[in-house]
Symmetry: C2
Subunit: 482 residues, 2 copies
């Protein structure tokens, strides 16, 4: 039975107490979800995971939960009617990165709990923080509200996509199909866990855009070098090398430092910080913990040895050209001598406001052609998506900030982060909805081995119970936005 909760006051404390008492069960729900592989890049378990998420939405009481097919993996859609005034789209991603990276000290898909100082117990698994942990914690929060006889204070439209790690390439198909429904919402919320490892809270108001592609050269396309297989290395004396040629092509794209990009127009349209951003940055400088950030990434120095404001100006406002991976020829142990017939580099470009997705690949192509590398092929891996920003003045953003203050935290407000997420699909045409993310908890090593989310309380950050309580409070505060 769905009750209207219009005007009711959510009894947070009752819910919080319930959450504390059900820690073990809630943790085991997170473990269940990370154990279900959903590696979109490898088409491993993705559809099974969609089914699992759909069952979660049904269990919560969504009157409507379904897999919405796209040209790729399905979007799991669910509508929870709380009879409330406000409606919030909850954006989830149910896919994860691969698990092939060396360095995992626990099996990445077993849902192991390990003690990681200074945090205490953490769930260590692929997806733990990016973002199955938050997905399931959010649902635990919703279930807890109902379990104590309360009602969720807002209506929820769940949109869980299975291709975030592939660049959300088919999410626009879903949004187009469901535009009528989605436009009824007041804001979009992406549950996250935004404490750093010392417990400091940040709120990110936007993301960079991304275009991801491969640069590929083989002897067949080139008409030079070996065309079908790696040949004996001694033939380098009279046969051209696609590997050397690719290195020459790539080297024209940056200065010797590998940072400054030399592609014509690469920095075109990149805006400097706005007045609102500058005000935020001024506050940010006072609380920015450079040491903690570096320690987390195991990085000793920032580019050009910058610090503080100068460093995060780079982080926020630099478009980047990054090599994610490169390979060709013999890459095993020892000394096999071959002349490789093919070499490939995985490259991504991150876009800041107001750079345009559709200009990226043509600029790369023109650059290669201009330098005489017509033979190098650009293989588009995803269409890419743009940057996104929500103003700090948005009521939804203020609801998140208010929540943090209620929990005793004065958040760092980041105008945007350097990571990418498909927020622009919600906060531009046709939906034009404010997009916010938040949650009090911590995790790390997304896209890296030993990805983790803190589950135990009492360490330097909130654990699973704090995270779930913060989602309850966020929902409560979002129900009051005007």
């Amino acid at each position: 039975m769905i009750l209207s909760c219009g005007g009711r006051v959510l009894q947070r404390e009752k819910v919080f107490e319930y959450i504390d008492r059900h820690y073990n069960e809630h943790l085991s729900k997170l473990q269940e979800l990370v154990k279900q592989p959903s590696i979109s890049a490898e088409n491993r378990g993705v559809r099974e995971c969609a089914g699992l998420v759909k069952s979660y939405l049904k269990d919560l009481g969504c009157k409507d939960s379904r897999l919405v097919e796209t040209s790729g993996f399905p979007v799991v859609y669910g509508y929870y009617d709380a009879g409330a005034d406000k409606t919030i789209i909850v954006y989830f991603m149910y896919d994860t990165q691969p698990v092939d990276d060396p360095g995992w000290t626990v099996p990445p898909l077993e849902g192991r709990v390990a003690n990681l100082p200074p945090f205490g117990d953490c769930l260590v698994a692929r997806g733990a923080i990016n973002t199955k942990g938050e997905l399931r914690a959010f649902l635990n929060s919703c279930e807890s509200i109902k379990a104590v006889g309360e009602e969720i204070p807002v209506n929820l439209m769940f949109v869980a996509e299975g291709e975030e790690e592939l660049g959300s390439r088919h999410l626009p198909e879903f949004i187009e199909e469901y535009t009528g429904e989605l436009k009824k919402a007041d804001a979009v919320f992406f549950p996250s866990a935004d404490q750093d490892q010392k417990g400091k809270v940040g709120i990110a108001l936007g993301v960079k855009g991304i275009v991801y592609f491969e640069l590929e050269l083989d002897g067949k396309n080139w008409g030079r070098g070996p065309t079908e297989f790696d040949i004996h290395g001694s033939n380098k004396a009279w046969v051209d090398s696609p590997a050397w040629r690719m290195i020459q092509a790539l080297s024209t794209m940056t200065l010797k430092d590998g940072n400054k990009v030399l592609i014509d127009g690469f920095y075109e349209n990149a805006l400097p910080p706005s007045q609102e951003d500058l005000e935020l940055l001024e506050k940010l400088e006072k609380t920015f913990d450079e040491g903690a950030v570096k320690d987390m990434m195991k990085v000793e120095r920032f580019i050009e040895d910058t610090h503080g404001r100068k460093a995060f100006l780079k982080y926020f406002y630099s478009p980047t050209l990054n090599i994610n991976g490169i390979w060709g020829g013999y890459i095993g142990p020892g000394t096999k001598t071959v002349l490789p017939y093919k070499i490939t580099a995985k490259v991504d470009v991150r876009l800041v406001p107001n750079m345009k997705v559709e200009e990226v690949l043509p600029k790369i192509r023109r650059h290669l052609d201009k330098h005489g590398f017509q033979e190098i092929k650009i293989v588009e891996l995803e269409e890419g998506y743009g940057w996104a920003k929500t103003s700090v003045k948005e009521p939804a953003a203020q609801a998140i900030i208010k929540t943090y203050r209620e929990f005793g935290f004065e958040p760092e407000i980041l105008p945007h982060v350097a990571g990418s997420a498909p927020f622009c699909m919600f906060n531009r045409e046709p939906l034009n909805l404010p997009f916010v993310m938040g949650g009090l908890g911590h995790g790390g090593r997304a896209h890296a081995p030993n990805e983790y989310i803190v589950v135990q309380e009492g360490g330097s950050t909130g654990g699973l119970c704090t995270l779930e309580k913060s989602y309850v409070a966020i929902l409560d505060n979002l129900s009051k936005i005007s």
Copy 2:
């Protein structure tokens, strides 16, 4: 019982007929040997293969066959006393390249026979031509001589090494220990199969030298970039990239074409062809089948679109700087976004007369330092070995040429090939022995998938029986050198 064969005439026809009648058994001996993995780069089956080769030498009747331990894999040594005037060192390698290359259409270690037009039946397996096929065929020849009641016309010192594919790094230890024995020999013979795919015969009088190393850069050594693991790719905005930096470093080493090497002194000491070489090259030009060579490698064009004499002058007399493989970051399917902490390139330098092995790495180091890439590490994978040449006037070389003529072939004489083999360890101090290779047969795709040796007669090249007969004749002719 060992009989002296001094002055006896070898009844070749009797042996040849025996070889024809025992084709199936002889082929199965080749299959047995290729089925025993001996991948030195991976330490896979090498010692077991050494044991197998030792048992072969014992079966042949070597009064002395043993594993001679070195700091690496053992050398299998055997002495066969034929009571003859002449003594020949037979150089074998019993190790092979890895089998991880994609593109194998048969399992690489099963000894499968497949029909490959225009050759007919071929043994398709790792090691088939490089060089387990020849090793076992040579032993079949020796056994056939004895089986018909004849005696092998020369004494044989077998030296079978298990680290050829690792650059023969510990062969010098063996040579030092056995110098006294080895100096008693008159020449060194390396059984090979030197017909091209149309049946034309070549004899190679020398090899280039080789130095093989890795260039490696990680954030730890650099003091910049991620130091321990790949981090989220968005951090490229403020964290340096070892991958871009390595590309910049590598790009300084060649011109844009990837061919001309820009390392100071790289071409120093490289000799132009000698007068003897020039005479050989003049003849060579008339028979050089460019199309066949290109077709074999699936190469459409040589460097700078050279042809004929100009092409093989490059092949013979160019030192090379080759990238055998390069890798770093995420190299799986799809779009994982990471900033890689490490990148590695496997590089080899081939040396022509009179380049010096010991000068190669210091020149690379100076080049990197001069261009400001002190942080790039050179990891030496093998000590390397020098080029080697035997004069065409050497009686041992003439014995091979005579054999080919007896079989109706006028051989192409190559002053040397661009491949590398540890011949210099035999034909320089302290042994100073002429080194020759030869055999009438054909195989291909060494260091590549679907490596093969032709076993059937009647195709465009000799098969296993012809190969074995040619070894019988070579031994006979070597017994008569003065």
